[in-house]
Subunit: 408 residues, 2 copies
């Protein structure tokens, strides 16, 4: 974790324990640092699991194996290595992950397919297996810890620990979700990786858990961007221990399924927004709200084109209501748009309506809004009912300093 | 033009006159500046024309009308307004362009469809028609000028004037091409626009000229990027006056067509690279060479994904051989790639081969290469014969300063 905390940071919330989930951390020494860097989460028997993974085709062996092992639907343990992503390390990298699976499986007496591993940090350096194995032996003996310790231990260049929780009523049982995430702060010029983990005591069938996680992902993690660069290791896993003893959720027909789905999306959204708040060099948190698109998916792609535009992001960093750059970014998105129906606004004030600057546009309230820390950029396409919100941060000198000024 | 010239600038070359082309400049006063900002190029009768235009769907009326008028294949004049892009200005913007077409057509006694107009500068402010009309009256009376004056006059926040020329033998006639371009330097936080114009005394049928320009564009202008943001006004036009009195080129079966096509691509490539050399905040000129892709088009898209990656561009700014970021960018391109066949090199030295870091990788020559001003980044996919080269610049504090530090 860095010394310079993001100005958009949030304090770590009070987070409840989750039945069937035990957290432990240890120091494997993946880098020459005096902090814990190995997180081990032991999960009760019959815990179900679902996951979403990076679409980067150069993904790590951790992602390859995780994607394959999700299919059997059960999980007994999660291991997270911080300080080395083990990506682009060929057969040696894969062998290291397989050895970790085998060691944890032997410890728990479970199939190796029920162990999930993530690694984050420098790319192209094979994970040192001796350190991983010694670290695992240490962590098996460590005392259980709390969420904040785990959130700090999975972090690399994050500037603050990130967690979220929620509850839902499922039948007459109250179920709880607790989740941690790391990502998007980069101080050393390594690759950022987003790793998120959601734990719940709710009993959920794995196929339904996957359905809910994939749906939540679409409007949360898939709607954030810091710099348009997709990591080789991005992973979000959801684990459901069943300790709440509710009747297992198997579909939206199950009592309480809607409430659980809403709670799951809620924690995913909280986590996703926390990653943006720790975006490299971020000074402003930006919501890009797109309405009137031909579909929700089209709205999301337009929102991402705007949120990824260096010219839009630098304009907001400069507190400049440069809506012409927004027009440009909408136009380059490759999605249906009609210049003469397009409207752009900031913080509730339209600057341009239906393809033209407003004659009575008042920049005073817009300028005041842009001086704030939370920016709302509104785009109406005037074509249909499609809508989406995308979250990003501004592009500042801090981004350049973090990624160019320091050599690895 | 800015005071701070790009460190990658090139001196303006000696450029020959082209028969049938007369250049004039005047001051319309689109901005409060003491420089010429209106360029008028008169073209001999029977000059043919071809063009390529931005794909941004929020394009300006200049682009709309230019695209429509290219179809009839003839041009008598080009007008370029600097200081106001006239984009996103609705019916008033379109009316201004139509008035300019009418005024020039009346002056020359030609159809308005044979007049081409470009505008570049701030977006969302209707072009002041009174200034345009007075400027045109002045420029009609102005003395002819040379290429460098015209190149300076079409510029906005460019830091140096950009031109290129070439010759080719067509039958027994020597034909000459001369070309100017503006773009990619931004000091005021307005939108950059790339406007390029190629003039030749070669006689070329308009359909064949369009075919050649479109082909040249594919491997030149479509292979450069500064910041991934596609302008609303990008335009490249080619004008062929026929003053060389060669037998008109109508297809690749015409004698000299290959030589002319090569010369046309050569000037387009020179212009495209000059735009990169004037990229916002650029300190290094980067060639991304992609080989072994499944197709040339796939290679180009992979090259652009790498050249647009903020993490790759900041790494090169930091003179850091961070090939892991290149792997990431290849993987996110959405094109066929196999992590375990991928190789990455800098300046002729492989850092990683077939999915793994090289055991005997020597970073010393790579570090020396990265300290230079001209960077070669090599990517081999190991899949097929597809290849492309893409050119870009690094991402530096200069980019942020230009686009965020100064309010409009």
């Amino acid at each position: 974790m860095s010394d310079a905390v993001s100005p958009l940071a949030r304090p770590f919330p009070a987070m409840p324990p989750i039945g069937g989930v035990t957290l432990r951390v240890a120091r494997a020494g993946y880098k020459d640092w005096g902090r814990c860097d190995l997180t081990y989460v032991e999960l009760a028997e019959r815990t179900t699991v679902a996951g979403v993974f990076t679409r980067n085709v150069c993904c790590s062996s951790e992602v390859d194996l995780g994607r394959a092992n999700i299919a059997q639907g059960q999980a007994r343990a999660l291991v997270v290595n911080a300080g080395n992503s083990n990506a682009f390390t060929g057969y040696r990298g894969r062998a290291a992950v397989e050895a970790i699976l085998a060691q944890v499986a032997a410890h728990l007496g479970c199939p190796p397919e029920q162990v999930f591993v993530s690694s984050t940090g420098v790319i192209g350096v094979p994970l040192p297996l001796d350190k991983a194995q010694a670290g695992l032996r240490a962590v098996f003996e460590a005392a259980p810890c709390g969420w904040e310790d785990a959130a700090n231990t999975i972090g690399t260049t994050d500037t603050f620990a990130k967690g979220a929780s929620a509850t839902a009523m499922v039948g007459d049982k109250k179920v709880t979700l607790a989740a941690i995430i790391k990502g998007s702060g980069m101080i050393a010029p390594d690759m950022a990786t987003m790793l998120g983990y959601v734990f719940t005591d709710c009993a959920v069938a794995p196929a339904f858990l996957q359905q809910l996680l994939s749906a939540a992902n679409q409007s949360t993690f898939s709607c954030i961007t810091v710099d348009s660069d997709t990591s080789t290791s991005d992973t979000v896993l959801a684990f459901a221990t069943g300790a709440a003893s509710n009747a297992p959720l198997t579909s939206f027909d199950s009592p309480g399924a809607d409430a659980f789905a809403a709670a799951l999306r809620d924690v995913c959204l909280q986590l996703a927004q926390l990653v943006v708040r720790d975006g490299e060099g971020a000074q402003k948190f930006i919501a890009v709200s797109v309405t009137g698109a031909v579909s929700d998916d089209s709205a999301r792609r337009i929102g991402l084109a705007v949120a990824n535009s260096p010219l839009v992001k630098t304009a907001i960093a400069g507190e400049d209501a440069n809506w012409g750059r927004v027009v440009m970014a909408v136009g380059k998105a490759g999605e249906p748009a009609d210049r003469d129906k397009l409207s752009i606004g900031f913080g509730g004030v339209w600057a341009a309506r239906e393809g033209q600057p407003l004659a009575d546009y008042d920049e005073v309230p817009v300028s005041a809004h842009l001086k704030g820390e939370e920016i709302l950029l509104e785009i109406d396409l005037g074509l249909g009912d499609g809508r989406a919100t995308v979250w990003t941060c501004d592009l500042t000198h801090g981004y350049i300093s973090i990624n160019a000024d320091y050599r690895s």
